[in-house]
Symmetry: C2
Subunit: 386 residues, 2 copies
Amino acid sequence: MLQGFLFSGVSCGIKTKGRDLGIIISETPANAAAVFTKNKFQAAPVIVSKERISKGLARGIVVNSGNANAATGEKGIKDALRMADKLAELSGFSPDEILVASTGVIGIPLPMDKIERGIEKAFSELRSDGFKDFAEAILTTDTRIKMETASMTVEGREIEILGIAKGAGMIEPDMATMLAFILTDASVEQEALKEALKIAVDMSFNRISVDGCQSTNDSVFILANGKAGNRIIKDGQLFEVFLTSLMKVTHSLAMQILQDGEGVTTVFQVEVESAKTDEEALLIAKKVVNSNLVKTAIYGKDPNFGRILAAAGSISSSIEPEKLELYIDDVLIFDKGVPVEFDRGKIFKSDFVRIKLVLNTGSGKAIFYGADLTEDYVRLNAHYTT
Amino acid sequence: MLQGFLFSGVSCGIKTKGRDLGIIISETPANAAAVFTKNKFQAAPVIVSKERISKGLARGIVVNSGNANAATGEKGIKDALRMADKLAELSGFSPDEILVASTGVIGIPLPMDKIERGIEKAFSELRSDGFKDFAEAILTTDTRIKMETASMTVEGREIEILGIAKGAGMIEPDMATMLAFILTDASVEQEALKEALKIAVDMSFNRISVDGCQSTNDSVFILANGKAGNRIIKDGQLFEVFLTSLMKVTHSLAMQILQDGEGVTTVFQVEVESAKTDEEALLIAKKVVNSNLVKTAIYGKDPNFGRILAAAGSISSSIEPEKLELYIDDVLIFDKGVPVEFDRGKIFKSDFVRIKLVLNTGSGKAIFYGADLTEDYVRLNAHYTT
């Protein structure tokens, strides 16, 4: 059981229905780190939280859904600060220790009356088992909550990690916005926490793409409050054990986000092996994942090696067609320059498809994950203002 | 009237219906140049034509649709050479002077019997006014033929340019394949012809994207046979006059390809002004054009500035949100960091939408053209093996 964190999620009327305001509180000061969108257009809460997290400490997070507080100018910054101040007043914590996040429509000022009342209500409902309410309160076009836990024993001490995320469309990372909150009762040194989060995010949230679009609001937060009483995690084997558990949580959340992507029926991975370098392998994997022709082929369960090869070949790389092997779900489809006869009954048998490109030009490798492109994706995004 | 070129287009049974084999012949040796796909996977006809055009001369082109002769290994190369040889035998020209192109499905060997009979038939039907038959013979998922002409008078001599193209999906340039054939009776020096084609292609076919996918077969050919008897075009004002006419043809063909893109209802341009450099402006314009969220917003006639800004902001650039202005169809939507009230009745009034981003950080500019993303695009590409 995760120790020392309280959660709540309430409805305050930003969205037409459902919970839309959530709070997380750590009972003791927690070491904290975060990773934010690299988009040039950063929402007000991102600007505010980025500045605050630089101190490496936090005690509370306040989040709203239904409005991203992005492209809202000076007023947006003032509103984001006010959200944090309100929680600081109620809790008695310093405003500096409160982080803030928002997700939803862009370019519309936050309804601050509703939000302030929402924060009061949410504060009064804080509970150690309120995480499902919180998980609900951060959803936008998501169809379900996204959570994952991991636990480990370090020198006899039980450590818990709980991750809560939302996503949907516009993931890479996202703009309908990908938000993730990771809480642990482990005692982790500030720099180690930052480093672990960076690695875990890079191998999970930065390896998924629903539609190649990057958000103004994407944020991943981690708070480690030390309540587990373990010897502080800093480096060496302790760090590796913690990182492994953290990566289990972030990978699971990333996959949950993809599976719940707008209009998604099938998630797929593109694995590139024996490329010249890991960087090259990643670029190729990403190019294939983001190809609309590959995405529609996956949707149509069409083993269209031509589209996969054309996508892979469209960037400068060490690819030599006469060396390349292509597999779908472990079945060889294209072997060193020419297509191969294969049993169509052996591929596309589940809602997770594995594409593997073996370049045979070096020892670089990478995996990137994507989702198919469907009529529903188009319908949702043509007629919904985010 | 374009002088000294003969055309034909016949049906030889590669496709289930319609013309699928075309020939162009120049009555005299023509200076020739071409631009090909940069994809690492190049179709056999691309490999063959690329080698042949390096000499700068050509007299004939043979093209088939319905089969791309791509990912066909050694046999593919042999077949592409055989296509050219067949036309060389019939015409008495050197095989070296014959270019070859193919478009259609990938990974299936060419039906050479049909093709050889088709070349015989097409050769027997060559006519100076056969260009519409040729234009039909190169189509795949296109719904209509694409042609454009330009004429100019140089020192009393009438010069004609005729362009014929096909495209459809997978444009940037394409893989259902973008093919273009440009014929002129002008006398143009070899290097000047190469240079003019490079510039014209760069400002037209390389500025359009239906789906961000690049083909294995894309080729643009130009033949200049000198029949107009003009003083040879080499540089200076003559070159500029010729280039202007050529660009009129290539721009028109590029727009026709976009308009006929798979499932396309609306074509749009993204113009970036006062960026740091022209290169930066082009990268930003391209990123916005290729955003699935922008494409679906255009389809839904949704003035979603958030998606446009998020796409523009997702790459490293000189963008400063508080300096940026965004216009849709000349109406200011977002002004220096904040959204603007505007009259929705004044935008999205035609099937051509203009998006303009004014960065106010320098003097670089660029335009890139794209098409919306619709349910029909998904349907066509999920259920059609290219």
